[in-house]
């Protein structure tokens, strides 16, 4: 069934998405997020110079689903590999696609230092509060009380803390230029996610620094919910622990010096590059954190 030339296309698979059927469970948001990334790449017309870095998690086979050059790297290390790639060929557009376990646990140091140094790639994180691929173990982003394979009595914050907030932590790093958290589920939230991804890739194209979008999504299978229930859980519960919003949007700046003396006049006698202006650094929350963002 091909689309005839007489028709106006309202919606179709983006070119950067390969036609393969994914291995994702029914209703899993990874598929939606893949499509959004592909749409943004198409919109920016950068497919021919984009390289993706696949991480280890359910999205490990992302390389089969995008029609782009791809490399698959060790668990958690996608930001390091992306750094190597981008430093080697700054003309490429580079993005990582990672899970919460991948980025918020084993890959913590790599993502933070990418943000500190202002590496010019875009990190996309699918946060489903669980290790999906290995069968549903706790992640650092698991919600308090959530029962998983390794928190059989529910995550107890008194023992193992509250969820790790990746977007906020990265937004606070000096080399970050765009950091946002969005969610999937309904049409409006998906459209907002697309917009955030577009801004993140644009930030990379501008060459100013590190960009990242954390996307809250479901894992119906390991949560033991129907796809629809799982989406509702994202909208109702996840956002209470992970506020949606843009946490950084502006040129890379050293937060400390900025606070101390307004960002000007620093330098310790060495080759300090021209001081760049102090961008907006406070979270500009889009929604109220109550699931309506």
């Amino acid at each position: 069934m091909s689309v005839t030339t007489k028709e106006k296309v309202l919606a179709r698979r983006p070119d950067s998405l390969a036609p393969a059927v994914t291995h994702y469970c029914p209703g899993c948001g990874h598929g939606v997020l893949h499509r959004l990334v592909a749409e943004v790449i198409d919109e920016l017309g950068i497919a021919e110079r984009t390289v993706g870095v696949a991480s280890v998690g359910c999205s490990v086979f992302a390389y089969d689903y995008f029609d782009l050059d791809f490399v698959q790297v060790p668990h958690g290390r996608a930001p390091a590999a992306a750094t190597g790639l981008k430093r080697a060929r700054p003309d490429l557009v580079v993005f990582t696609y990672q899970g919460d376990g991948d980025m918020a646990a084993i890959g913590t140091a790599e993502i933070i230092h990418a943000a500190v140094r202002g590496e010019r790639f875009t990190a996309v994180m699918y946060n489903n509060s669980i290790y999906g691929m290995t069968g549903g173990q706790m992640s650092p982003t698991t919600l308090p009380g959530m029962v998983t394979d390794t928190t059989p009595a529910g995550r107890d914050p008194a023992e193992i803390g509250y969820p790790f907030l990746v977007a906020e932590t990265l937004a606070a790093q000096p080399g970050a230029v765009y950091v946002a958290r969005t969610r999937l589920g309904d049409m409006a939230s998906i459209v907002k996610t697309r917009r955030a991804l577009l801004r993140a890739f644009k930030a990379q194209l501008d060459g100013e620094g590190f960009s990242m979008v954390e996307v809250l999504g479901s894992c119906p299978v390991n949560w033991g919910m129907s796809p629809s229930e799982a989406n509702a859980f994202v909208a109702r519960e996840m956002v209470r622990h992970f506020p949606l919003g843009v946490f950084r949007d502006g040129p890379a700046t050293p937060p400390a010096v900025a606070e101390a003396d307004g960002g000007g006049g620093r330098g310790t006698g060495g080759n300090v590059s021209a001081a760049r202006g102090t961008g907006a650094q406070r979270p500009a929350q889009e929604g109220t954190g109550r699931g309506d963002a």
Partner: protein, 364 residues
């Protein structure tokens, strides 16, 4: 692949270089433009050299946040098709093992330097050869092999570094340059080949899928048949390496009754001991493996089948390479071991004593 180039280009005048710095210069001349590392003694002169030198040739030195990050930056850069290097010592090299296994699985070239120090644990920063097993048998998971080059002097360190890049590219497999604190810190004259430009990205590199089908680099093969086939391909490649890339130096082994086997720094001292022994008229030779993997088993086996009545492996370790000597000799002659550990370095006379004891027949 221009293997010959490294050797054939007109050499510049001899310069006095520290091993670590010669390694860096040789890498740059071989077209390496990217270095990702994390400081550790006794290899720190290498990253410092690269931090100064690479910007001069349009390259990038980046200090990673850890050795784990460094090896994966190497992976990323290699996937982009550039010549890239990382370097560390014992503890840091251990941290790179997962990444090394991935490089092999993904068939990505890279040059990995380990300037060994005393272990286990933090140990100390003195010369050691106790990471032989890790380098040659695979410190990471899965079946894999790397070419391991073990230079014994600064000139050879420079030469083999150039070779390492070429071999890595030819076989699409990482290559280890294995030295120790002594080699890294010592100065000797060295002649470098002319500067080679960074090569063009190879036809498998990720450069963006402009005008061609997309490319994929991965180590994943979910089905047993697929992963077995992948492993068979890799094993065939390792077999080719073993056939073509075994390197060693034989010093007065002809007619020798006792053959000392030693590599790298230990071979320098062993060579002095062999010279002393020869001066005394003792029939002693030295076989120096230059590639630790592939190990020069054949020349050893031939010596064992010929005049050599016994072998003496000398290492700065509790005895690691000696296993490969025993495998090569396969029971045809006794293989003895002499080693020092923890940064202790034997004197030539100390080894001479052992040689005398061996030849005296006490050990038989």
């Amino acid at each position: 692949m221009a293997i010959a180039a490294t050797q054939a280009e007109p050499a510049t005048e001899a310069l006095l270089y520290k091993g670590n710095e010669a390694l860096g210069e040789a890498a740059v001349r071989a077209g390496c433009r990217f270095f990702f590392g994390y400081p550790i003694t006794p290899q720190s002169e290498l990253p410092a050299y690269m931090a100064r030198r690479l910007p001069e040739v349009g390259g990038v030195y980046l200090q990673a946040e850890s050795e784990v990050a460094a090896i994966n930056m190497v992976l990323g850069a290699s996937a982009a098709g550039v010549r890239v290097m990382t370097s560390s010592s014992g503890p840091g090299f251990s941290l790179k093992q997962e990444g090394i296994s991935y490089l092999v699985g993904c068939e990505l070239p890279a040059v990995l330097v380990n300037i060994m120090r005393g272990g286990p644990g933090l140990g100390n920063i003195l010369p050691s050869q106790a990471d032989y097993f890790q380098a040659t048998k695979g410190g990471g998971h899965g079946d894999y092999r790397l070419i391991v080059l073990a230079p014994a002097g600064v000139q050879e360190l420079a030469d083999l570094t150039g070779l390492a890049f070429d071999l890595a590219d030819v076989y699409r497999n990482p290559v280890i340059v294995l030295g120790d604190g002594l080699l890294g810190q010592m100065m000797e004259p060295v002649r470098f080949p002319a500067l080679r430009p960074a090569p063009d990205p190879p036809d498998w590199a990720l450069t963006g899928a402009r005008g061609r089908p997309r490319r994929l680099i991965t180590s994943i093969h979910l089905a047993a048949e697929a992963l077995e086939a992948h492993n068979q391909r890799l094993q065939a490649k390792f077999a080719r390496m073993a056939e073509r890339e075994t390197r060693w130096e034989a010093v007065e082994t002809e007619g020798a009754r006792l053959v000392v086997v030693a590599y790298g720094t230990a071979s320098r001292i062993a060579r002095a001991a062999v010279e002393l022994a020869r001066e005394e008229g003792l029939p002693v030779g030295l076989l120096r493996p230059i590639t630790l993997w592939p190990f020069p088993a054949k020349p050893l086996a031939e010596l064992a089948g010929g005049d050599a009545a016994r072998f003496l492996a000398v290492e700065l370790s509790a005895g690691q390479m000696v296993e490969d000597v025993r495998l090569a000799v396969a029971g045809r002659a006794p293989v003895e071991f002499y080693g020092r550990m923890g940064g202790a370095v034997p004197t030539p006379r100390e080894i001479l004593e052992v040689i005398r004891r061996q030849l005296g027949g006490d050990g038989r």
